[in-house]
Amino acid sequence: MVPPLLRRVLSYREGRFGFALLIVIAFIVIGGPFIAPDSPFATTGIPLSGPSLAHLLGTDELGRDVLSRVLAGGRDVVLLPVAGILGAFLLGGVTGLISGYGGGWPDRVYTAVVNVALSVPALLVVLILVGVGKDSPAVIVTAIALVYAPGIARIVRGAAQAAGRSEYVDVARLRGEGVTSIAVREVLPNVAGTVAVQLALSCTQAVLLLATLDFLGVGAQPPSPSWGLMIADGEQIVVLQPLTLVGPAVALMLLALAFNLLSGALQRAVAERQR
């Protein structure tokens, strides 16, 4: 099921581009700290100096190597949101699948709960949770999971309900297949595509949300090399050393672009597959 979808995604130009970008980003995020010339916290250079051989992107106001900080900062920016989204999927996706397929009054209750949860503005909830709980990773991951779960739940539930109403499910029922068997064998393959698309979209949003939190000073605290935080700091000294701003900004944009392109390609692949 996965390889043909992947192949289809890669057949589009946007898919190839996004995938390539993603590989680069993954490299930076995972391998970054290892290939960085300096520690992100070490003040090895003259503050606010421009690009040089020792410091390819120059140094920031404390003399830390900008390139090293960018390479190190990816982890915080990416890993926590992705973990949060996976949590959101476990919470929202599984319950949505069961409720959407099962139907009946439990489903109506579930839908009402999800709708109310969706009406509560996400950023505000995250702000208050993280603002009060500070930047402990557990709080951040939980906050993201709680905030994105309802959206995912709604979409998965919708897809499960549509699949559950179709005639091929009736055919399985007529064979005497049980609810679990039908949910897994018949419904799940038809929901998987939508789920994959939603996964990609939510990851994009969560990453940007966390970067925003860092930027606002609510999430990661100095001296963390989080890109959002770097951009906030870099804003102050942009006239003196623009690379402290541009470096992390470009990295963040490439990450967001990669996710966006992939979600777009994935969406298209899934839609074409249904035809």
């Binding site: 091929y168 055919v171 005497g176």
Partner: protein, 623 residues
């Protein structure tokens, strides 16, 4: 080159129309060399099956730019002007005023978020300068001419507040507003019930006669075209293959495809099963040779080379290399086996029976759909359950199958009580009663290959087989429904409608059923494909002594297939008789209405026209 035999000049003449669509790799030619003429007061029928390009050709001839269209060549002359060469601004003045178009779906004629009367007013305003009061008068006139006068509060209504038949007549009214001279009808009655269809067709006949319209009527229903039209053009793979007077084309066809199409139409006055046409039509124009050669029983090597032109042959024009020869095509009836003789009108004990079934939708305050209905079927018997939409026939079938537990009533199978819910039935009961759905595509999981769907069914009903054994069994079952083993790797979206329905039947057979419940299994298929499925069902019933309940709204299909016919109307059974008896001696007035609405599908109508339509059109119509 003129193809018609009329002395007066045509009002509208399309010549050598070619249309191609943008494709993934290259352009796809979908219409080639289409030429036709429309004369005042005469209707030309454009016939063909799904994908032959008839709608495309007709729309393209108006100068309309279809989405995805790459190129269009040819001429379409109206009043000496070539519509295909006109500027968009000038075309707009012609559309709606000189040429009108009636779309297929009633819901496709009007925007759902605006009042219908506003949209009619706009259509009129686009062409005439009149005061609002005068415009209203014109609109009311148009409504009266389609029998829609006097509907209360019609000006306040939105499209969803009218019925399908009413909407279709409103669509006709919209077309007639500016008194056009040419009208193109794009299958406007396909989604309507037979009785409603009859009314709308009569309306069309009347409008054409009164307004001396030059009309083009597109349909896949050849019998309907014979009944309604003066001339018929049959299209195949983007080309016109036969063109001539309606009676000649249908009773003395000169092209093997036309003959096959006629032979595939089930009729209410002949008990033989319509003949199937094996194979699939190409989905684009064939470059070299005759497009039909691959499926033609009269094909010769020379049919595959060079270009084939339309040439005169007798009363018609035909696109066939062997046009001049006598191919013995004109005897379409009686070519397939007669159904197992209904001399056995003996009432045998039913193997499956339903008694006093009451069923409804939507809980307590829902609609009651079945009002105490009883039905039974014996082994080696085909019972047809006939009725219009809303009669409850599908609900009854689903109730028997166990998908829609009735509110009251009992079911019995082989003498023992049958639980109403499928989950409560024994494995044997589940296996022996099989349901086949109308929408074959929806009944197959789009994410499973054919092989996987088959193996699931086989594993369920024959648990003892090994992996290899299951695969062999799948191949065997597919062979029984005349599908090659190659479809095992295919996904449902890659198969045609007919192939998907055969897969469904093969899957049902995996259970070795005793009872087959068919829910409008051929209603969404082309007529030539339908004939194949019907003979398959007839054969399976003979070979396995199956008990079959066949639900359909098409009475003609029933004549050749069923032993007994049960007619439903509004949730109740109004008549139940052996087939021949019902057709020759219907008892209830509703049955007579249904028979009349279906009477255009008869040998008699083919030969001498549909008298019921003439009567209805001439004597005025109810609103």
């Amino acid at each position: 080159m003129t193809v018609s035999s009329q002395p007066e000049p045509p009002v509208f003449a399309a010549s050598d129309l070619c249309v191609s669509y943008k494709g993934a790799a290259a352009e796809r030619l979908v219409v080639s060399g289409v030429t036709f003429q429309l004369h005042a007061g005469r209707i030309l029928g454009l016939a063909g099956e799904t994908g032959c390009g008839k709608s495309t050709a007709a729309l393209a001839s108006t100068g309309f730019a279809l989405p995805g269209m790459a190129r269009r060549t040819g001429q379409a002359l109206l009043d000496g002007k070539n519509l295909l060469a006109e500027q968009p601004g000038d075309l707009r003045k012609i559309w709606g005023k000189d040429i009108a178009y009636v779309p297929q779906q009633p819901s496709g004629a009007f925007s759902p978020v605006r009042k219908v009367w506003r949209q009619l007013d706009e259509a009129l305003e686009a062409h005439v300068r009149l005061a609002p009061a005068d415009r209203l008068a014109r609109i009311e006139e148009a409504l009266a001419s389609v029998g829609m006068a006097g509907i209360d509060a019609w000006r306040r209504r939105y499209p969803f507040e009218f019925s399908g038949g009413q909407l279709q007549r409103l669509s006709l009214a919209a077309a007639m507003l500016c008194a056009p001279r040419v009208v193109i009808f794009d299958e406007p009655t396909t989604s309507l019930d037979p009785t409603t269809q009859e009314t709308v067709l009569a309306q069309i006949r009347q409008l054409v006669a009164r307004g001396q319209l030059a009309a083009l009527y597109i349909s896949h229903d050849l019998a309907l075209l014979r009944a309604l039209c003066d001339d018929i053009a049959i299209m195949y793979a983007g080309e016109i293959v036969e063109y001539g007077p309606a009676a000649d084309v249908t009773t003395r066809p000169r092209h093997p495809y036309s003959a096959a199409l006629v032979a595939a139409v089930p009729t209410i006055d002949s008990p033989s099963i319509a003949k199937a046409l094996p194979g699939e039509p190409p989905d684009a124009v064939v470059a070299a040779g005759c497009a039909f050669a691959a499926r033609c029983p009269h094909a010769e090597p020379r049919c595959e080379e060079g270009k084939v032109w339309l040439v005169p042959a007798g009363a018609v024009q035909v696109r066939c290399v062997r046009a001049g020869e006598e191919l013995g095509l004109a005897s379409p009836a009686g070519t397939a086996a007669r159904r197992a003789d209904a001399g056995a009108a003996v009432q045998r004990d039913p193997v499956l029976a339903a008694r006093d079934i009451v069923a409804s939708y939507g809980g307590q305050e829902g609609r009651v759909v079945l009002n105490g209905v009883s039905v039974g079927v014996a082994a080696d018997e085909i019972v047809a359950l006939v009725g219009e939409s809303g009669s409850g026939k599908s609900t009854l079938l689903r109730a028997i199958a166990g998908l829609h537990p009735p509110a009251a009533g009992e079911l019995s199978y082989r003498g023992a009580a049958l639980p109403p819910r499928i989950e409560a039935r024994t494995a044997d009961a589940r296996r022996e009663i099989q349901l086949v759905f109308q929408d074959a595509g929806a009944a197959l999981n789009p994410r499973h290959t054919v092989g996987r769907s088959m193996v699931r069914a086989i594993t369920c009903h024959q648990p003892g087989l090994t992996r290899a054994g299951r695969r062999a069994r799948a191949r065997e079952l597919l062979e029984q429904v005349q599908l090659s083993a190659a479809v095992i790797q295919a996904y449902p979206s890659q198969l045609s409608g007919g192939q998907r329905q055969r897969v469904n039947l093969a899957r049902a057979l995996a259970a070795e059923p005793a009872v087959l419940l068919c829910d409008e299994v051929t209603s969404s298929l082309d007529v030539s494909v339908q004939a194949g499925i019907l003979s398959l069902i007839a054969r399976l019933r003979r070979e396995r002594q199956l008990a079959v309940i066949f639900v359909t709204h098409d009475l003609a299909v029933v004549r050749s297939l069923a032993d007994r016919v049960i007619v439903m109307w509004d949730g109740a059974i109004i008549e139940s008789q052996p087939t021949d008896a019902l057709f020759s001696n219907p008892e209830s007035p509703q049955t007579r209405l249904l028979l009349e609405a279906a009477s255009y599908k008869s040998q008699q109508a083919f030969t001498s026209g549909w008298t019921a339509l003439d009567t209805l059109a001439n004597e005025g119509l109810p609103s």
